[in-house]
Amino acid sequence: MPSFFRNKRLIVLLVSIILLVALIGFSLRERDNISLPEQFIKDIVGFGQNIASKPASFVQGGFDSVQDLLNTYNENKKLKTRLEELALLQTQVTDLTRDNEALREQTNVEGDIRDYSTTNATVIARNPEQWQDTIIIDKGQVNGIEADMAVQTAGGMIGRVKDTGQFTSTVELLSARNSVNRVSALFQAEEENIYGLVEGYDTERGELMVKKIPFDVPIEVGSKVITSGLGGVFPKGLLIGEVTEVSSDEYGLTQTAYVDPAANLYDIEHVMVLERTAVGADEIEAEAEEDEE
């Protein structure tokens, strides 16, 4: 009997290792969305998570509102000073928008990579193991969410939709380390636009790294970084953050800018999922293929 048990243990071990390697290989390959069985499990677990997160967010909301009350006086003072500037800014913006629309009509330009439609969602969970920065939101395919949509909070862009289930989706934050997670960024400089790619996150500084910036363009510290919309996936003009330091890379061929993210990447409660309405590269390709047929 003992030898039989020992044998069984060995077989279980071997089968587990083979399964483990196969499963990891399966889940790490490039794929548009997760498989059906995964979606099924995700939906069941997500249903429970939806219920579990309600009382938790209620309690947290209570704490937050007490804190808000304590801060009200200071905030009020600050806001009053900003209010007058705001009225002026508003008239300017309205004027510019009308001007822009009129010009667009005259020149027959259709479709703008800045346009998007939004879906509001609530964060129901954060990945507890914290190796990968992902959060889970309570909207899924039923609500029209698809993989690779941009996600932002009121502060600015926070990430993209990694995969979707029927009722929940996983959002990968900008701070996640992923070679596929690259956002085309644009520096708002005085004279011309400068482009770079958001590639990676410096954990110790808590800042994003924007790389592949041409070495000969000066970037001012404090300039704003927005999405460029050139990747064909995200809309243009989502605020990513503010430049805090610029340094040249190890070979001196390109520059790297450290960008302080505009949105808080840790304390996230409500998010907006943005669907770009302008056609991207994928749609254009698909249309071209159809035309050929």
């Binding site: 587990s16 889940s27 790490l28 499990i41 998570q49 990945n127 190796w131 808590g206």
Partner: protein, 172 residues
């Protein structure tokens, strides 16, 4: 009814992890410290200590699968790691005598082990890029402290509930 008690506790523990994860990271003395809740490991190991080891393998497998699919997206790591932890702890208890304090300590060692294995694994497949020093200072020590607090609070209730369920089922 009694047979639903343990799955229910397991599910509550499973969901509580993601809720407690919102406390992390914590700023202590100017440094960010990650607190990683591993309440599920505590639950599963205590299940194997005080309820039934073979049943706890099944629990470990199922909860590990849920964890992988819902949170990490990398299938298989926790699904096989949780049963492995139960197996290793069983090997340890062949050598030493079991009581609630020792059980808590072994659970803590197992949490350190699971952190280390997952860290090495993610280094291998390129998800993590922390160096060992940062891992220890910013992640492991604070995580162990956090989970030690949870073990202190939960060990006695877990023991009582699991033994009670086992006792009731033996009576039937």
């Amino acid at each position: 009814m009694i047979r639903f008690v343990l799955p229910l506790i397991g599910i509550v523990v499973f969901y509580s992890e993601s809720i407690f994860a919102t406390f992390s990271p914590l700023e202590v003395a100017g440094d960010t410290r990650l607190l990683v809740p591993h309440f599920l490991v505590v639950f599963l190991l205590f299940l194997s200590f005080y309820y039934n080891r073979n049943t706890s393998y099944i629990y470990a497998f199922v909860f590990g699968l849920m964890y992988d699919v819902f949170f990490t997206g990398v299938l298989g790591i926790y699904m096989f790691l949780f049963p492995l932890l139960i197996y290793i702890s069983a090997l340890i208890f062949r050598l030493i005598y079991q009581n609630i304090v020792i059980n808590g300590l072994v659970t803590l060692i197992m949490i350190a082990l699971v952190e280390w294995i997952v860290y090495q694994f993610y280094l291998l497949i390129g998800i993590a890029d922390m160096n060992v020093q940062t891992f220890l200072n910013h992640r492991l020590y604070s995580t162990l402290l956090f989970n030690a607090a949870f073990i202190l609070i939960a060990a006695y209730p877990f023991k009582q509930w699991m033994s009670a369920v086992r006792f009731r089922q033996l009576e039937d």
